[in-house]
Symmetry: none
Subunit: 240 residues, 4 copies
DNA sequence: GATGAATGAGAATTCATTCAT
DNA sequence: AATGAATGAATTCTCATTCAT
């Protein structure tokens, strides 16, 4: 059996959330008695919070069950809203999924652009990116997002397209630029590498997949693996 | 009368198949009047064929839709059998999926073991494997199978486990052995590579994923990519 | 689009009910313009009504077809709700059945406890009970319930257990107490009867079964039969 | 969960039966080398055996699961024949059930007619019958048959009719005759009893039901109960 | 805007019945 | 005659979506 159900609770999730929220707002108003009472969240703000809660919950559920096996009921429960509320924010399950993934991908790109190329070597630059990626993606929920895209991509071409356009092609262009810089500076010997920037990121992708599927069988030191990979590209490190 | 069944109205797909099959066999008997009548398939053989048809159809559907979104109805239709027939061969959808994947994985391993290490260099050896893998897996349905495992693995731990045990760990051991041979023979400089045989296969995995998701946006020459990767590991090729 | 739902074509039974209900309530609001508008049923009330409709329909169906042959579809149709609605109230067919029977048994016990032992003879007391039972159970749907329990008991041990605990053992204890009272007062001669209170109720049970199975072949005057039975126990009546 | 499945066995039931039967017959032919070889069962005989096996198996299954919940597959398995074989003997499940019950009812009547009224008292006569009934019916599978009829009767009016005609009305006539004899001989005081012969058998029926449903909660000494009942009718026994 | 009860199309699974061997 | 694989209608249960409150 794959699917599991939780038992009904006497108080519904939205009811619990409402109670908490009511208390919270009431509390705030009472406690903050200074000259600048925190503006109590207006309707639009609360709608935005709610929307965010739905997005977070949905992401969690989609990641752990995949698109088809995720139930809107569970998303609603997790987000602390009623099922109907989801439909105030999204047309249907499918567009919610697409929009979600799309929304989530953007920060992924952001993470990857990181700090501007400081004055170090190209290797340092690439290593910086990679460490960032491993810290921010491979070992977090965002890594599962990547796996989710791999999993559902063929059934959601628009997502695969978007991912290609926004992440893959941009990312590869960036990699290519760095490779070319490395070649120009003489740090990278192999000129063909610029034709296959995928090679540069391959171990990072492998690490993402490994985390989801095999981490429990054998842990993988993604950082050390990546450094070894860089050694192949840039030549052996001076023994650190 | 307690329950009533209605008679079938038109001719169902299986019915059509049966008719065709009957005709075919009748035809054979008539046509083949020589001394060696083709042995007409007996019941067991046809059951086996049928089972195979179900397996093929199911694999096709699971690959293109994923586990949850695949309908047994569609599998049955594609296999040309009635829905109930599936249950003569598999306990339920879930065990069908697991058994299927498991069965399909085995030849995957077979493919990878290929010819014994002939008298060439280690690089030739690895390259031979890789070309084989790219030809047999990356560019075929088997590649989609790998992607399917990545997609469904987290929800089917038994499959992920099996895949780890039968493919990943064996494959990596093989890779490690080859790397160590390369190190011993002086073909590979970087001794750390033996700790991360994943690096060796990473581009091949990337190629598998690329095929499913991005081939239509930008074709990827997996073979040339892999050769470039090998250049990083073994040192630049003499310009072929 | 991954899965598509088609729009409903005609007007379903529940739809018809809703329309009627809407009209009815609209009507009320219009018609009742006096100072005391009938409180229009709120959501909770209507849910309760609906639940009751399901219970009634299910009881009817289970009684006339038995557990296994009853279709939830028919229950839904009879209750005027959609199939899914049943699952808002009951976990599955089996627990619906068990819960139903259990719920229905309780009033059965209630009926049987009837008026407190007024100042008459023990025979009057027993006769009072019996008349009550015959009027309230033997000649009503509740009798069929008893037969249903007899029919399905072996396959629903929990029901048989519950019935034994709540009805049979309590009922027999009550009977035994009355028999002992009768013995003490000298109304009943046979002291062994207290060991077999079943004998006291046996004709009533027979009457229940007779109604379901043979009433159409030969009507049975349950009351007169029971009086005759009491004559055996208490001695002949003065010719009434 | 109500239904249970058994695991498939490597050798099918019919296959096992066939092997056994083959061995048996082969054995017989070899061992018995005397002048009068046992006539090996001919086709008709074996068909009859087979039919009987089906009947026995079906009865067992119907009794323990009821009509609707019984699977022909299970009957076939239990009988050691193929499913299709059942259809060589019975039109369909429903007529099999009806025919079965009908067939099984006849010996029930037979049992009840027992030995001719020997020279004892009417009470002895009745007691003889009752003991016979309790021994032959209440405490055996035949008792479950009676419960099965009670359970399925309403859905199989033809069975209820048949049962009424062949068992109930005959049985009650017999009882009435005995009661009248008892009245004529002065053994029975209550003249009304002849109008309700059901009273005479009521405790026996109760015992049947008790066995199926409540025996595990509280055993019931059917014989002693019946004797107590007879005491009510015929007057107290001399302390045996 | 929110809610969540209600809906009903859809999907998995079962099983009486058929029929080629 | 006997078999048992194959069938597909029927049935239970699920869940995305709607809509009255």
């Amino acid at each position: 059996m794959i699917k599991q159900r939780s038992k009904p609770q006497s108080q519904s999730a939205p009811a619990r959330r409402r109670a908490a929220s009511r208390a919270a707002r009431a509390g705030e108003t009472k406690v903050v008695s200074g000259p600048l009472p925190l503006p109590k969240p207006n309707r639009a703000e609360r709608a935005a919070e709610r929307r965010q809660a739905i997005i977070d919950a949905a992401m969690e559920e989609f990641i752990s069950r995949g698109f088809a096996a995720t139930r809107l009921d569970d998303i609603a429960k997790r987000a602390g809203v009623a099922k109907g509320t989801i439909y105030l924010h999204f047309k249907d399950k499918e567009s919610m999924f697409e929009e979600l993934i799309r929304t989530a991908i953007v920060p992924l790109v952001g993470r990857m652009q990181g700090p501007p190329p400081a004055g170090g070597t190209v290797r340092d630059l690439v290593e910086g990116f990679a460490l960032n990626f491993i810290r921010e993606v491979v070992t977090t929920r965002r890594g599962d997002l990547v796996r989710l895209i791999v999993a559902e991509g063929p059934r959601f071409p628009s997502i695969a397209d978007f991912y290609y356009r926004e992440v893959v092609s941009k990312g590869l262009s960036g990699m290519r630029a760095m490779i070319e810089l490395g070649i120009a500076r003489g740090e990278i010997k192999n000129r063909n590498l610029a034709k296959f920037p995928q090679i540069l990121v391959a171990p990072a992708m492998i690490a993402v997949i490994w985390q989801s599927l095999f981490a429990k069988h054998a842990p993988l030191d993604a950082i050390e693996m990546f450094r070894t990979h860089l050694d192949l590209i840039f030549g052996e490190r001076r023994t650190a």
